[in-house]
């Protein structure tokens, strides 16, 4: 097959994929809007709470101004057209445009998620390789038991335990927030930010490295039991050479794909970790929005985080398609984690 044909098919596949993502995103907006509309919470009441003394006439006027008396379908299309123009409305909780809040907080969350994503990928991959090489020995048993246990630990509890050990008992890390209190935004040094980021990022990476490690271990064991590794051994290659020539190449792609496909759990984990460490990110914002009935913010973050997850899945798909020639033809759809 010529490379042109491959390119064309990849292009067609990506086109189909994009169409699929577009319909899914549209459906996400419908689902999110429908769920929010179903809520028994009265948005006017929520709005009025922060304002003070408001008469019934004024309430009716607000409801009318917001279009609450219009049918839901009409409201949906109004909201969607505003969304497409980039206008996500104003947050009731923070009294700021939702787009501004998302932009500011996403940077914080991104720093947190990317640090822990890299950490968990590196730790998971290394541990997986070690376990695979030492299969059945005590090191493998201990590490495997640790990984299995960690996958049953809730993020927020691990965060609390880390807080207790490293912040309260040892005093190595601050209790929370993304920077020291009482320091102007411009004066915060990179080191201070890192210091505040360390514990939440560590918590988040501890939750997710177990699945990568166990997956890598299994894949590596499959590779090491293959005939070509047996042949390589017969040729006299030592373990390191075998790992370099056969091990890493076969194992790194599934690990990478798994990491990209885990954006959904990563975001969910960051919601919990940010709440434990009072870290001002998107996750803390979304749970606050739900608790305080801040509908525009809730909708905005939902759409944004879904976009984030889809881009992760898309990257995972493309990685598989581009790098592995066997999968180029046909591939199981989406990710296959246990969640």
């Amino acid at each position: 097959m010529t490379s042109l044909q491959t390119l064309r098919r990849l292009g067609g596949r990506s086109g189909k994929q994009l169409l699929r993502v577009a319909t899914l995103l549209l459906a996400t907006t419908v689902v999110a809007f429908a769920l929010v509309s179903l809520s028994p919470v009265d948005p006017v009441q929520q709005y009025v709470l922060g304002v003070g003394n408001v008469s019934m006439e004024q309430r009716a006027a607000i409801a009318d101004y917001w279009g609450l008396n219009d049918p839901p379908v009409q409201r949906y299309f109004l909201w969607l057209s505003a969304l497409l123009r980039g206008d996500m409305g104003t947050s009731l909780l923070y009294r700021q445009p939702v787009a501004v809040i998302i932009r500011e907080r996403f940077l914080n969350t991104l720093a947190l998620m990317m640090t822990s994503w890299l950490l968990s990928g590196l730790i998971g991959f290394t541990l997986g390789c070690v376990m695979g090489l030492r299969r059945g020995r005590w090191l493998d048993r201990v590490l495997r038991a640790l990984c299995l246990m960690l996958s049953s630990v809730p993020t927020f509890w691990l965060g609390l335990v880390f807080l207790l050990i490293f912040s309260v008992a040892l005093g190595w890390f601050p209790i929370g927030l993304s920077r020291p209190i009482g320091v102007a935004n411009a004066d915060v040094t990179f080191g201070q930010r890192l210091h505040h980021l360390a514990l939440p990022a560590l918590t988040l990476s501890f939750i997710s490295f177990a699945s990568v490690a166990l997956h890598t271990r299994q894949k590596l064991i499959d590779v090491l039991e293959s005939d070509y590794v047996l042949f390589a051994r017969a040729r006299g290659e030592n373990t390191w050479t075998i790992m370099k020539r056969h091990g890493f190449r076969n194992v790194i792609l599934p690990a990478l794909t798994l990491q990209f496909a885990s954006f959904s759990e990563l975001f969910g984990g960051s919601v919990l970790a940010e709440n434990v460490f009072s870290y001002p990110g998107l996750g803390a914002a979304v749970s606050a929005a739900g608790l305080n009935s801040d509908v525009p913010l809730l909708l905005g973050v939902t759409i944004f985080s879904t976009l984030f997850v889809f881009s992760g899945n898309l990257i995972a798909d493309i990685l598989y398609g581009v790098i592995d020639p066997r999968i180029r033809e046909e591939r199981p759809h989406g990710q296959s984690n246990r969640d």
Binding site: A32, W157, L272, V286, D339
Partner: protein, 284 residues
């Protein structure tokens, strides 16, 4: 084939079957104990008693007492009982949903299959916790919303498994024979295919349990679900956050550990069952 790598050996005569049985019995006893104690403990046992507030763990109060003098062991037991109930209802509903949807995707028209796959992608695309928050918000933040949310979001991966399994069974010769003998699709589904996916269903159900419990705890930790005076593990942990800097470490440590152990038991049972039912690893 001779492999240069050491193969996992079962430890000292305890094979997987026995291990699974033991896990199962321990789990049943623990679950029954938690549920019964959750029912039996009168609610005045966890009312504030300022004469014993803030006690660190001792023989009398193994989990210590909190800043209102409530016995943390009893609160934890009540919380775990609630987790078990929510987990049972939610994972049962989810597993049944998954089986129905997976079977429908595999036996229905091509269009239906595509639609269901698309739906699975949709549910998996929204971050799980965000979707749970949305559903809980839609139901007005209560226990009902929590249970509904957990029940309708956990079916996706099991539905995929069931779909693949049914597709594979459907292509077997005996299904063709049965069809030629004039049996209807419904009859074949009920008599031939359902019995085959029953094991998948059971394993899926048990493996869904830990996820359901963890999500219940996560949501109540964030403040969705129960009112703050009800003892749920998530609420206990979220309350404890205010007292950590004061050195009351036992408020967060023991309830969380109890939850982890419960989840771990279910996870092990599910994994062992899966290994037993999988012919490739059944006789390890």
């Amino acid at each position: 084939m001779d492999s240069p790598i050491v193969i996992d050996r079962p430890r000292r005569g305890v094979n997987r079957r026995l291990q699974t049985m033991i896990t199962c019995i321990v789990l049943l006893m623990v679950a029954a104990g938690i549920l019964l104690s959750g029912e039996w403990i009168p609610s005045d046992a966890v009312t504030p008693d300022f004469s014993r507030k803030g006690l660190s763990p001792s023989l009398e109060y193994p989990f210590g007492t909190d800043w209102l003098g409530r016995d943390m062991l009893l609160r934890t037991l009540k919380g775990l009982a609630l987790s078990l109930k929510v987990g049972t209802i939610a994972s049962m509903v989810s597993a049944v949903l998954a089986t129905l949807i997976g079977a429908a995707a595999a036996t229905g028209s091509k269009w239906l299959d595509a639609a269901i796959n698309w739906l699975i992608d949709l549910v998996m695309g929204i971050p799980h916790l965000v979707l749970l928050i949305l559903i809980s918000f839609a139901c007005g933040r209560g226990l009902t919303g929590l249970v509904i949310g957990i029940a309708v979001t956990h079916w996706t991966s099991l539905a995929r498994l069931v779909r693949a399994e049914v597709l594979q069974i459907r292509s077997q010769p005996y299904i063709m024979v049965s069809r030629r003998l004039g049996h209807s699709t419904g009859w074949i589904l009920l008599r031939h295919i359902l019995p085959h996916i029953l094991p998948q269903f059971v394993v899926g159900l048990v493996l869904m349990f830990p996820h359901a419990i963890l999500h219940e705890a996560s949501l109540s930790f964030l403040g969705y679900g129960l009112p703050p005076d009800e003892p749920a593990i998530g609420i206990i942990l979220s309350e404890s956050m205010r007292y950590l800097t004061g050195g009351m470490w036992w408020l967060a440590f023991f309830p969380g550990l109890a939850l982890v152990l419960l989840v771990l038991l279910f996870d092990r049972l599910g994994e062992n069952l899966r290994m037993l039912l999988d012919p490739a690893s059944a006789h390890e």
